[in-house]
Symmetry: C2
Subunit: 606 residues, 2 copies
């Protein structure tokens, strides 16, 4: 973001801020939402500092915060694109201009940094900014009844509300959510008329913005997938805070439509590159999947909220699916290159020759001009702890199985949990309880949706527990050093799609535990479309510690066309014989770390 | 073209000519190549008049020809777009401006009308036009070394040469073909520099125009498919005329690449909507096939030339495949609506929601703003006789089996052939010879490439013949009334693709005789992707005289998923059972005559 990576597309992000702060001459360069990349990075640093102090990074943050303070205008306005290039155009195009989106990311960064360090300066900056927003937007006479074209600030305002307990942030969030999609008139029409119709990217249908109808009437996931799922996350936050069951049901219905009709097996969402959007039920092409990394991350955000609200493992199942597959695929194993688009099939032979596949990159890129995804991965991974556990007064939830330690306060006792596991490669998880005194509480451990056979032991003995909504709930008096051992049987599974997913008709995917597999050309040669699995294929899982940073591979005997019979003709009435073909599948997230080549997730089944 | 069809997109074609002729005020409206639609219609009328006199149509033609004479400028220039709107821009952008393309279509129209009526006026108009072209373009000093961005005039000049026997037309054709793709400098760069770089549609790579290298170096079918195959047809004409074996080999190599690597089973070509072009070997997506009707027609033109040059049935096989499938699908059964794009799968559920499928129309249209295809179908069907037969001094060839009569002069004897057949529904063909005297010649009848079992009888007795390059050659002394009976066994065939065609992996197509079949929703319900054929499916052919103007349908028992087992989840480790499913396949050309619905040519195989 300070343009120090040789060969990467220039970003100008910090430079924009320096210009706005009057420390540098020049014009804003980059996307209208360029500031948000910085804010996502700041949030990442905030999360990292919450885990471990680092004076150097804290100093860098404080310098950036000083710069933000200098760039902020006297009325609280803060957005380098408009401050520098278009001061007369502020708040004239909420639909396209991302001012509220950038504000939302700054709020998220501020709360993360404040929670890590207790330093209030950045909170004061965002307070001034939000006060300015409240002076411009809202239901009161004389204000614009506007809301963001790109939702994000809703969930951010809920974070700010939880940090400050100031009702005005909750009210603003509620206003944005309830006002969205209201008609007679539609706010996007009102502001378009005022600016004489000019749009930033030409007119786009309102469903792209999830503003085609009031949110309480929406039942299907529509439009730009990241916008949609950021919005749905904010809705879940607001509904939970207000205990608004009707609004919660909106989130639940949208969830069911998303995951049961419009989600890839990797947890990727958004099947159309055009408008980066949802399309229609069961439209899930693999080679032209858009499945933006940010969208899989957004799905994780939403899932995290829903599992905490409903305590239902089905949300955590999707959170886990997206985390290990469609989100993690966005970053290379060395952490230095990224996919914006995460297709489930890649054909280098055609991808560079077909306009309709031009958004598919066949290898990860160092950075993007529109670089929303890299800092989004960073902030997700830096805050992973927030996804693994949650608690209420009496219950400690373990949603994900990832080694580490955490603390809870349960029934006023300080409890510590330590997880040790080789998950996702092995299904064995050991949890050690630390408590200074005997303590009665419920430990709720998720039985993954993919798992058909599990055992749970406490101190090496079978224990009693109830299973509620996918969680094994062990209620007992816990003492220091208690050991909980979970074992989830993890065979290789053959996964099939709903028969209306036409791109997957006659095809299967391979999964083991939460990991979705793929075939890559590096292991299996080219023409992966010709690989055929028989229904009763035996696949062997084997851990390869030296391959791709340590992965478990699957091997087995498939079939492929006997190429010695094939002649140089396109069409034939011959039936080619099949010959055995040894295959080796690797985790989908690990693909494209060995150069360019074909890749498929869905494999033909005999 | 005179804008008299209510509801169809306006064409303005005749109006443009009236304005150029000074009979009407106004500006040119329409595509830069709008004139060519009229010329293709004129050629069609010429072909129709060759078969049957019609005073009314001859009068219409003579009126149009008078109008053309009035629109022609004093120096011979004739193109309404430039004469009316841009007289200062003539011959400044051969790459984009279609002036030579329009001239080519006028030449074709002129030769057809002249051959039908003997009237020379239109030949004189095109002579003046070509003289003008020769004064502007050519290898001599002071002329532009230009050639058309859209090839077409090459094959037209060869027709004019054959009608007039004037060497200058042959020379101009040769110049255009040999100059194409020459570098140091490239002509398209030269003219671009002169007009300061302005392109009509922005810069497009030279392979789009088949101008990326000299034609004698080209070995793969590249770029805009109609341009390519018009060019290859002109090359074949020129090479045959000059007996230039090297140039003929260029055509042969391009042919093999086209039909063995880049052609759909329907005879459609051009697999990318973007630039309406060829892409790479084996890239043949069905749902995003472009396969422009004009391209299938152009392939028929090229095949006709190659079969006459090489006497090889493999060319006629493709001619027949394109004719009965990918070309014929371009027009509705009532002759009133058209496909520009001929996909092999159509999914109305998604086609209207995916930008990458937006070129696919789910039903035929009445007309197009860019309406190259409708008059191209018309001129093909009106001149069908030229494709059925050919002859040399001693041999009469029957390439296609279509009822009708024709005359040959063989060894100076006038011979007449009468074909009677229900082909393509039945494989039985009866040919009756008429001759005024005993006559020794060879009757060469094509044994279709799809046919594995044929019998040939003369006067109800087995006869001796040799088979050469797919033709059964019966040499004998023929007498008045001799009967030749051909029987081609026509079972239902299951067709498979080369294993590198990834879109067809695990799928089969159905064919009977030359007819490629499809499943349509009207007969088989929706979710056609779920229909599965077992390897040993028994399919029954049955003629239905009242269905879709009389077609032979195929019926049989396939399988589909037992939907009673399917739950509302996208992914499962369950294996769904299959249940029997009666299917009914109709000829591909006849699809989309019963409203909007799904259609597939390639069907999943178990």
């Amino acid at each position: 973001m300070n343009d120090q990576i040789p060969g990467a597309e220039p970003s100008h992000t910090i430079a924009n801020l320096e210009i706005a702060a009057g420390k540098k001459e020049g014009k804003h360069y980059g996307m209208v939402f360029q500031d948000s990349d910085l804010y996502k990075w700041m949030e990442t640093v905030g999360f990292a500092l919450a885990v471990e102090n680092d004076e150097k990074w804290e100093q860098v943050m404080d310098d950036v915060i000083d710069l933000l303070e200098q760039a902020q205008e006297s009325d609280g306005y803060l957005n380098t694109f408009f401050s520098v290039n278009h001061p007369d155009k502020k708040w004239t195009n909420l639909k396209d201009d991302h001012e509220l989106y950038c504000a939302g990311h700054l709020i998220e960064a501020a709360t993360a940094y404040y929670e890590a360090t207790g330093k209030e300066k950045v909170i004061k900056i965002v307070s001034r900014l939000v006060d300015h927003i409240i002076s411009v937007l809202g239901p009161e006479d004389g204000k614009k009844r506007g809301y963001p074209g790109h939702p994000e600030i809703e969930l951010a305002l809920m974070k700010l509300y939880r940090v400050t307990n100031d009702q005005k942030y909750l009210d603003l969030c509620k206003f944005f959510i309830e006002e969205r999609g209201q008609k007679d008139p539609h706010y996007f029409d009102v502001e378009a008329a005022e600016r004489e119709g000019r749009d930033r990217w030409g007119f786009i249908n309102y469903d792209y913005f999830q503003a085609h109808q009031p949110i309480r009437e929406q039942t299907t996931a529509e439009g730009h997938s990241v916008r949609a799922v950021y919005l749905y996350s904010g809705i879940a936050d607001l509904a939970a805070e207000l205990q608004d069951e009707q609004l919660l049901d909106v989130s639940r219905k949208l969830w069911e439509n998303t995951v049961n009709k419009r989600m890839y097996v990797t947890g990727g969402i958004g099947s159309s590159a055009h408008q980066e959007r949802f399309t229609v039920d069961y439209d899930l092409p693999n080679d032209r999947a858009y499945t933006e990394t940010c969208a899989a991350i957004a799905l994780i955000f939403w899932a995290q909220r829903m599992v905490q609200i409903d305590g239902d493992g089905k949300y955590a199942d999707i959170m886990e699916r997206a985390l290990y597959n469609g989100a993690l695929s966005g970053i290379s194993l060395d952490g230095k290159s990224y996919f914006y688009v995460n297709p489930l099939e890649v054909w280098p032979h055609t991808a560079n020759h077909r306009e309709d596949m031009k958004t598919v990159k066949t290898t990860r890129q160092q950075w993007f001009g529109c670089s929303c995804c890299p800092p989004n991965i960073a902030r997700l991974l830096a805050s992973l702890g927030q996804y693994i556990y949650s608690s209420n007064e009496h219950e400690a939830y373990v949603h994900l199985y990832i080694g580490g330690e955490t603390q809870f306060t349960l029934n006023d006792h300080n409890i510590s949990l330590k997880q040790e596991t080789n998950y996702p490669w092995e299904g064995n998880v050991n949890i050690t309880i630390s408590t200074e005194q005997l303590s009665i509480f419920t430990l709720a451990v998720r039985i993954p949706g993919w798992c058909k056979d599990s055992t749970i032991m406490v101190n090496e003995e079978k224990t009693t527990y109830t299973v509620e909504k996918g969680y094994a709930k062990i209620q007992r008096e816990w003492k220091q050093g208690d050991q909980v051992n979970l074992n989830f049987e993890m065979p290789v599974e053959v996964v099939r799609s709903h028969p209306e997913v036409r791109e997957n008709a006659g095809k299967v995917a391979l999964q083991r535990g939460p990991i979705v597999y793929c075939l890559e050309q590096a292991d299996n040669g080219s023409n992966l479309q010709d690989v055929t699995l028989s229904g009763d294929i035996e696949l062997t899982a084997k851990h390869e510690p030296d391959l791709l940073n340590g992965i478990t591979i699957l091997t087995g005997q498939a079939l492929q066309t006997d190429r010695t019979q094939v002649q140089d003709q396109l069409y034939t009435t011959n039936s080619y014989q099949k010959v055995p073909k040894e295959i080796k599948a690797i985790p989908y997230y690990a693909w494209s770390n060995r150069g360019e080549g074909e890749m498929v997730v869905w494999i033909k089944e005999q």
